[in-house]
Chain length 268, copies 2
Amino acid sequence: MNNFRVAFVQCKPTFGATDANLEKGLALAATVDAHLVVLPELWSTGYVFSSHAEVAQLAEDPSTGATAAALRYAAKREKRFYIAGFAEASRGRYYNSAMLVGPKGIVSVYRKLHLFEREQEWFRPGDRDLSVHKVGPARIGMIICYDWRFPETARVLALKGADVIAHPSNLVFANAQQAMLTRSIENRVYTITANRTGTEKRPGGTVPFTGRSQIVDAHGIPMARASKTAEIAMAADLDLDIARDKSLTKRTHLFRPRQPKFYRDLVR
Amino acid sequence: MNNFRVAFVQCKPTFGATDANLEKGLALAATVDAHLVVLPELWSTGYVFSSHAEVAQLAEDPSTGATAAALRYAAKREKRFYIAGFAEASRGRYYNSAMLVGPKGIVSVYRKLHLFEREQEWFRPGDRDLSVHKVGPARIGMIICYDWRFPETARVLALKGADVIAHPSNLVFANAQQAMLTRSIENRVYTITANRTGTEKRPGGTVPFTGRSQIVDAHGIPMARASKTAEIAMAADLDLDIARDKSLTKRTHLFRPRQPKFYRDLVR
């Protein structure tokens, strides 16, 4: 037993209300005991941007922004880690990103590799490697929302040694949560989907979100799952040893039979 | 509408009874009208080998073997295509293979890339590319049973243009059928899992199989699904245009946002 306790926060950010979103999300986070808390995609800004001016106004440089400041403060005070989605500004470029923050500050920023719908107007696709980070005893990777549909993302993280994949989301299709069970099964990793709820109705469009945030065990069984609409935090205890033992049986391994020379089309 | 009708046969081969297995499988196939019929893994021999001598005795060279002969005859008479699992002998080497056979004879043999449990004692891992074949208006790829757990297999076939992935199986874990829905969703392809039923009790072990063969549409919805135990053939009409249109929406494509330079770990 190699215990690691994780949680998600499922909430309903209000577009543009950064301070209120931070406050409400962290208040929900404070209701659960966990080593790592995962918050939704674009948690602090909301999702439906309407103009480049809005992006420029709301996106943050993680070294100076309000989201990073709030998370650094909470992580230090609570002696734990957070992963949360935010709109990233970096030298005049914008990304749909997630930050991993611990008691000592920002550990890493992941930039969403696969953009969905109008995100392609507002953000650049990610330009950094999928990477795995030590969080206490755990090895954590990040993907964001629509990345789920690309099996390459979770696979790369698992091959790099991730025990847990955090998945901040603003999901709109109902089949994503089910597909995440397969990501856990095929990679023998825990997955945490922190989705948002509610509908954003803005000049840029009306987008309803699917809730049903979940923590899935390394065999693909949901350990915790929220309803479609609740604003709630839920936690579960993970046994990291289960994710690290890639033996399906005594004789059959999950990764060793891989035959990379026949996968070359994946990188063309 | 670009119509293509496919079927699976779910049956219960008796170990070593090649002639009876061929006869029963083809009799079930004859109950359905389809352009392509998919039969289970190791359909003609049964699954639980006990010795290398048994493998040597039962495996077939596809150019001379009884399975190929029976399928060639059926395909020619019925003017349609078959995919079926068989134990392949090739120059003193043995493979867990599937053959695609049409009215003009054998089109292709796929050798299972990822072997499961004692298969590793009896067979060599596949040594040929995953490949896509024209079958009438359709483009067909093959994977076999445990290959399902490796998302690389279906992904490579989809990137090579497969509309339909045929999946002859002898499945023993209950989560495979569900995961195949994800293979359809992530790749926008039809999948046909032809699984076997029954339990094989032999000196080499006792193995219960899970049935529940299925045809899944390109959005991940089951179109036809057998029970755990029925010996049955089922068919469904596929619209190939749906699998060929990889637009999730007007703005979002399933494949174009892929970022292969960040997937390099998959081929290491």
